[in-house]
Symmetry: C2
Subunit: 323 residues, 2 copies
């Protein structure tokens, strides 16, 4: 099995690749080849039991998508995206990468022909939803994104479903919860503080909290994200029918509950490193975001959330701070 | 007020233009100029109290959208589309016109700048919905189109909302019911038979019914469609908030009820001209279509359906057969 990962140098992409290299298989199939792409070169794995090609560049330039699928990958993980904050600041860049790039990838697949029909796992986002909504959003609630990023993801979902229906691919879109705790440096996502208020204090640093303690949001650990991707890649997609995108399970907590979980695990001194500094712009954006879901469909298909928010913090400590 | 109509040579476009020429105004504003565009040249009106420019061509070619809005129209009716059957048969053409063309129009508007922010009335479709769904679809039900046409319309709605949110236009999407009775020749829409089984018998001709009598669908007359367009053009869109597309009111009837209404108005002999000839392909497509809605939001904003299906037939007889 040949696997292509777009966005392989990103945080979730790296963890997915590590896992695939470690497993050496996906579902019941042995991996025989991998192609890793990102705008910056993904790290070349030191040890791999099969050939791994790394490619760097802009996948939304003409001809690049064709090159990416020239090796006819059986499974394509499409994780590449301009994140929410940047897509909001740079209108053209967001649409060019998130919409045009995705469509160029799908079209390159379509134009191969000859029965080529890869599994495509597309990472969508809960940003396809926008307020007002019920406390727990059902699987049949409509998509009314309030950011260009969410708009582009919702369009990607529509294209994925139509290209799948037409027989060009076997696609599945997974709406990832906000990933928490993101290791490393902050990215340009407007949701960055949800991780920052935990990651920075755990490193002994001060963190800024730009919204109120009562803000509720929907979270999953990087571990859960990798499991979601693997599940989506091996799932019998005929179970999905025409509705190819799934809201995934997550943990719904308030910022206050996040902080209390941090305090219980790491102590008062750590929790006291969070400095409240309200930011009207971020608060306004976050007010439009989903708080809780009833992801019955994904649950019935075997997708599993983290046990609770403490488990999310402990996973970060184990995976990132004890190595 | 300068009005641009895209798709002005189509059935609804022609009726809209006639009405605008006859009224000489839109809402409380006098019309001072009109620009009419279609792939074939719209008819040059014989009498108009203001300049009317007609343009023909492919609006999805580079540079055409810029020319269309060079005169800075205050209101843009975007009715241009490849219809469902043709978009299904010609994948590239459907995406090029319905998605790329719409986006090129919106981008041309966006790039004018300098505070230019026209009203854009985008004709969407109930094809943004796909089975299975509840008997009456609510305003918050999700979009899961089962045709490329519906996919393209759903994407157009998402773009419209995002471009409006970013301040580039004042957009409103209206999901027209199936228009019935369509005068003239059949078009390539898969829904064509809903009109054909009435129009052809009323002209003394045989008509083919490819689906069962129990098929329920959602209808509006051309008269209602024109009223919807005018209402959307004059409505205070701040009432819509971020959710810029509306399912419009219609008349929900079965094919059997359509035929009984025809029989009551035109007699047994006319109704007997309908020949049942099941078509599996059309039946399969139609099985995925919406049957009934609860369009509470559009109703609260003053959009009105035809009184019943008999009124729809009588409007056709008055407008098309008595002139």
């Amino acid at each position: 099995m040949h696997i292509l990962v777009l966005g392989a140098a990103g945080m979730v992409g790296r963890k997915l690749v590590e896992r695939l290299l470690s497993d050496g298989r996906l579902g019941t199939s042995d991996i025989t080849r991998m192609t890793l792409h990102d705008v910056v070169a993904p790290k070349q794995p030191e040890k791999a039991g099969f050939p791994v090609e790394t490619m760097a560049g802009d996948f939304a330039l003409p001809g690049v998508a064709e090159k990416l699928i020239a090796g006819r990958p059986d499974v394509i993980f499409h994780l590449a995206a301009i994140v929410s904050g940047e897509a909001e600041l740079d209108f053209d860049k967001g649409y060019r990468i998130n919409l045009d790039g995705t469509r160029m990838l799908f079209d390159a697949i379509r134009l191969v022909g000859g029965g080529y029909k890869p599994r495509v796992v597309f990472t969508s986002s809960i940003a396809v939803f926008g307020a007002p909504f019920p406390d727990a959003i059902s699987d049949e609630f409509f998509n009314t994104p309030l950011l260009s990023y969410g708009t582009q993801k919702a369009i990607g979902e529509l294209l994925l479903a139509d290209y799948t229906r037409r027989g060009f691919m076997d696609g599945v879109g997974i709406r990832l919860p906000t990933i928490n705790i993101r290791p490393g440096l902050p990215n340009k996502a407007a949701s960055g503080f949800f991780s920052g208020i935990l990651r920075e204090p755990l490193a002994g640093k001060e963190a800024i909290l730009p919204v109120g303690d009562d803000v509720r949001h929907w979270h999953a650990s990087p571990r859960a994200a990798v499991e979601f991707l693997l599940r989506a890649a091996e799932l019998d997609l005929s179970l999905l029918g025409a509705r190819r995108s799934l809201t995934l399970p997550g943990v719904s907590v308030t910022v206050g509950e996040q902080i209390e979980a941090l305090r219980a695990i790491a102590g008062d001194k750590t929790a006291s490193l969070i400095r409240r500094q309200p930011d009207e712009t971020i608060a306004r954006i976050v007010a439009g975001w989903a708080r809780d879901f009833d992801p019955a469909r994904a649950k019935s298909l075997g997708f599993r959330a983290d046990a609770n928010f403490s488990a999310i913090i402990n996973a970060y400590i184990e995976d990132e701070l004890k190595t």
